[in-house]
């Protein structure tokens, strides 16, 4: 029994239990419900953080439950990558949950929202900490399907359409993963994530497995052309859910790809089968298309959603380059993009909440009325563009250096082009907000977001500004060590 009473098992299973507890207790009091929803992410975060020292000094903590779902069983592991992923998931989730307690006051069906919010968290934490493909898949499906409830929360016809698209794409992705996982099991008799990988043999089944992984994870991560659900689903969800969808859940797809390309397939197999080239092509298209379409979008949340697609392209690029430096950039960007994009979605949500303005054209003068909110937005947007010393710059720097090491000058050009496009779609918003004018005849309303919404945004902004400035950048440190570990066995 003591296997279940260590902090790591609790970090994984506590949200699952709390989701049930919330469902039962919310009939009594909304205070308990909100408290538990915030606490679930917070406690998981603290539990994982207790391992931070151990993991940074190289320890790997393992938890195995072989009796659940044989022949494959469940297993969890904390290494550098899952540490970073777990902290990002629970940390961002905690801040967003705090924000949600205020934001959701106006919304209906809160009794449905919170249990599923926590259930989705349980899935996301499990995905990050899983030590084999099968556990990964189990929690991946839990996360994806419970997130459906968050996506369709508004229940407008538009939301239902987007939700249906999301559901079908999720199922297709899940089936693709299912196929790949059993193919891996068939080829090797194992589905564990083993440092250095263990599948060395190419061939039809291996190729099909890789395609399955690319489709399954690509759908989740919003890689073009599997992204079609994303620009529909992210904007229709309530803003806290959008922040989590874009900030956290997309990352599970790329974490999966990193694990698969390094810890299931060997790096030589990936290179010899030219899968890295495939990933680079997809990454390039994703970067260009995501950023380009974002420019044309007028709805702020749609613009942010397309921006996410472009940013996921960066991470895929970092994976596809098969190069340690680039991988540092990719892994760091998992952290950086999570923080930046959730900050952006939260600020956008605050503006929509207070002013009801979704179109960026109407954002004239908002910077003067909601000054702190728009400062956070500005910081996050500048970081997205890649202004030093904000964290967005760090990942681009590492990615570019990695690309240069491989003589991939074109990719550096691509990153620069993308930065320029980011500038084109973010800067006018900022300019308009601070220096633009209100629409004719509209009265100034100086209503700042409530503290419960403002504080999480400011905390995120602090991460954006200070992570790269303070010595001992824990995220970069973990990313470096994780990448080093991934490439140790090449």
């Amino acid at each position: 029994m003591d296997r279940f009473l260590n902090p790591m098992a609790l970090a994984v299973f506590l949200p699952l239990l709390l989701a049930v507890a919330i469902y039962i207790l919310e009939q009594r009091s909304w205070r308990i419900r909100n408290g538990l929803a915030v606490a679930s992410a917070g406690i998981s975060f603290i539990l994982l953080a207790t391992y931070l020292g151990d993991v940074r000094s190289g320890a790997v903590i393992v938890l195995e439950l072989p009796n659940v779902l044989p022949p494959l069983g469940l297993s969890f592991r904390l290494d550098y990558l899952s540490m970073l992923g777990g902290l990002v998931v629970t940390g961002v989730w905690f801040l967003v949950s705090v924000y949600a307690t205020e934001y959701m006051i106006k919304e209906h069906a809160k009794k449905r929202f919170y249990p599923f919010l926590v259930l989705t968290l349980a899935g996301a934490v499990g995905v990050m900490l899983s030590a084999d493909l099968f556990t990964f898949f189990l929690f991946f499906e839990l996360m994806s399907l419970s997130a459906y409830v968050l996506v369709v929360h508004e229940e407008s016809p538009e939301a239902m359409r987007a939700g249906y698209k999301y559901l079908i794409m999720t199922i297709i992705g899940g089936l693709a993963l299912f196929f790949s996982i059993i193919a891996v099991y068939e080829m090797s008799g194992s589905v564990a994530f083993v440092p250095g990988g263990y599948l060395t043999q190419g061939g039809l089944l291996a190729n099909l497995a890789f395609i399955g992984f690319l489709v399954g994870f690509g759908i989740k991560a919003g890689i073009v052309p599997f992204h079609v659900w994303l620009p529909e689903a992210h904007p229709v969800a309530p803003s806290p859910a959008s922040a989590l969808l874009s900030g956290v859940m997309l990352k599970t797809g790329v974490i999966g790809l990193i694990r698969v390309t390094h810890q299931v397939f060997t790096i030589d197999l990936v290179r010899n089968s030219n899968w890295n080239t495939v990933m680079l092509v997809f990454a390039s298209v994703t970067i260009v298309l995501g950023s380009a379409v974002a420019i044309t979008e007028d709805d702020i949340k749609r613009r942010l959603a397309y921006s996410s697609i472009g940013q996921m392209g960066y991470i895929l690029l970092g994976i596809g380059l098969l190069q340690e430096r680039a991988m540092v950039g990719a892994i760091f960007h998992i952290f950086a993009h999570a923080v930046m994009k959730s900050a952006l979605f939260l600020t956008a949500g605050a503006v929509i909440y207070r002013k009801g303005k979704r179109s960026v054209k109407d954002w004239g003068g908002i910077g003067r009325e909601m000054f702190p909110t728009m400062v956070v937005f500005t910081i996050a947007a500048l970081s997205m563009i890649g202004i030093p010393p904000l964290i967005g710059f760090v990942s681009k720097w590492e990615l570019s250096l990695g690309a240069l090491d491989n003589r991939g000058y074109a990719f550096v050009g691509l990153l620069l082009l993308s930065s320029l496009m980011n500038f084109v779609y973010y800067f006018p918003i900022i300019q308009n907000a601070f220096f633009g004018n209100r629409k004719h005849g509209e009265k100034a309303l100086n209503i700042e977001a409530a503290p419960a919404m403002l504080v999480p945004m400011i905390v995120l902004a602090c991460f954006i500004v200070f992570t790269a400035l303070v010595p001992g950048n824990f995220a970069l440190d973990l990313a470096r060590k994780a990448a080093a570990q991934l490439f140790l066995y090449k």
């Binding site: 009796n67 659940v68 089936l175 299912f178 193919a183």
Partner: protein
């Protein structure tokens, strides 16, 4: 000598004869009915443990030894099938007693269910061909009767169609048994098999003809594509509990009997040598695709579930056709998993129809908010049918797909995926429309009282339990699959 194998059948038959005598005292009849089911289930569970521990149990009725005496054989496969029948019948019987009455003659209905259960238990345990045929006949007639007992025009029409096709199937099976008897001079399965090893090469035509008739006969009864045409009408027009029994158990009992004839009489060597496996594979693939496609276009909830059964029978047949150890395990496991899931779905559908007064899927929009519990149970069933990990259906699909890859049949692994996607396209919209969207519910309705919902809750928990801990039945499943291997 352990009496459990024969007591399972005897208890049920005894109760079946007592219950109609008590038609004036319904509460007493109900107690006898439940006692009969519970006691025979206890024997069944005990037998499963015994078989697991000590291997195959044989029982000679009245102490008369074969080839002339009647033999009951409880091997791992028979014990497993008997266990499935017992476990699934418990909540359904509870539902029969405690749910609002759908038939005017409850005592008669309960007697028919007992008779049906006795016949099915007999079918999966019989050790000789003649008794097998007797039980098949009882099973067919009582299955038809529990449809017709509803008394509506549609149900009588459906049961009549079922009767005609089923009788053709029975005729085929009887003819095949006669052919086998002609060659071997035996009806006891063990003796037939021994004799066939010598005589099969002498009379190949007889054997082939017998096989063909057995195959077609059981295809009709187990609703294997393309002889499933009677099933959607029959299963959808039956009373709720009958639908659950028919879709959950009856079609599978026939399939189990078919499989037992295959390995106990014909022998797996012959089964593998003949081109039966490709035929099974093609039929399974068609069943999975066609069944699901028809299910998509249905607007009647029970018809949709019935077509889904056609597709799901395809999964079981697929594993049989693939014939690798893991595929067989998946196939055998799916007998249980589909029984739990489909019983859950049919009971939930029955409750929904009863409470709302409509059976049209298009009328169920927004009803999830009014009947949260019933639709939650339906959702659990849907997730299992689609094969979402953590639910029962996923585990059998996992084994089937692994089994397909084991023998290099990537195409059939892919087929399972396509079929899952098709399942999603007809199960998920129901769930989604019930719980989400702005359309207001057009019908009245609320969750029924707790005693009616209890069987649903039991099945729903079982679906999740089997999804997470299939290891509880795997030892028996593995042994059963091992029996089929040549």
């Amino acid at each position: 000598m352990v009496h459990a194998p024969v007591l399972i059948v005897v208890t049920l038959l005894l109760a079946a004869f007592i219950v109609p005598l008590l038609y004036r005292k319904l509460p007493v009849a109900q107690v006898v009915f439940l006692l009969g089911i519970v006691i025979s289930s206890i024997f069944s569970i005990r037998m499963a443990f015994l078989v697991l521990r000590e291997g195959t149990l044989t029982y000679y009725l009245g102490g008369w030894l074969p080839p002339y005496g009647i033999e009951v054989v409880a091997d791992a496969f028979g014990a497993y099938a008997s266990l499935v029948l017992a476990l699934i019948s418990l909540p359904i019987s509870y539902f029969v007693v405690f749910a609002p009455k759908e038939v005017n003659t409850p005592a008669r209905y309960m007697a028919l269910i007992l008779l049906l259960m006795a016949a099915m238990q007999g079918m999966v345990l019989a050790g000789d061909l003649f008794n097998l045929f007797v039980f098949i006949e009882i099973c067919s007639l009582s299955a038809i009767a529990i449809i017709a007992v509803k008394g509506t025009r549609d149900s009588i029409e459906a049961s009549f169609r079922y009767l005609v096709l089923s009788a053709l199937g029975s005729g085929g099976i009887l003819f095949a048994i006669a052919l086998i008897f002609m060659i071997t001079g035996h009806l006891n399965m063990g003796y037939v098999r021994e004799s066939l090893a010598v005589t099969a090469s002498l009379y190949p035509l007889n054997i082939l003809t017998a096989l063909a008739f057995i195959f077609v006969g059981f295809s009709v009864k187990a609703a294997i594509f393309p002889l499933h045409v009677w099933l959607p009408e029959a299963h959808s027009n039956a009373p709720t509990a009958s639908s659950a029994l028919l879709s959950g158990l009856v079609v599978k009992a026939y399939l189990v009997a078919f499989i037992r004839i295959m390995y106990m009489v014909i022998g797996t060597e012959l089964f593998v040598a003949l081109p039966l496996r490709p035929i099974l594979l093609i039929l399974a693939a068609c069943a999975m695709l066609v069944g699901s496609t028809f299910a998509i276009v249905q607007n009647n909830i029970k018809r949709m579930l019935a077509y889904s059964t056609v597709a799901q029978m395809g999964y079981i047949v697929l594993g049989l056709g693939l014939f690798s150890q893991r595929a067989l395990e998946g196939s055998i496991l799916h007998i249980l998993n589909h029984a739990i899931t489909k019983s859950l779905l049919f009971l939930a559908a029955g409750v929904i129809i009863k409470q709302t007064g409509t059976n049209r899927l298009s009328d169920l929009k927004g009803m999830g908010r009014k009947m949260p519990f019933t639709f939650a149970a339906f959702t659990v069933g849907s997730l299992s049918m689609v094969g979402i990990p953590g639910f029962a259906g996923f585990v059998s699909k996992l084994y089937l797909a692994l089994g397909a890859l084991d023998i290099g049949q990537i195409i059939f692994a892919a087929l399972i995926l396509v079929s899952s996607l098709l399942n999603a396209t007809y199960y998920f919209p129901i769930v989604v429309n019930a719980f989400f969207g702005q359309t207001e519910a057009t019908h009245q309705g609320s969750d029924p009282r707790k005693s009616v919902m209890a069987p649903l809750a039991v099945f729903a928990l079982a679906v999740v339990f089997m999804g997470l801990f299939p290891s509880v039945v795997m030892p028996l499943v593995r042994q059963a699959a091992g029996l089929l291997q040549p």
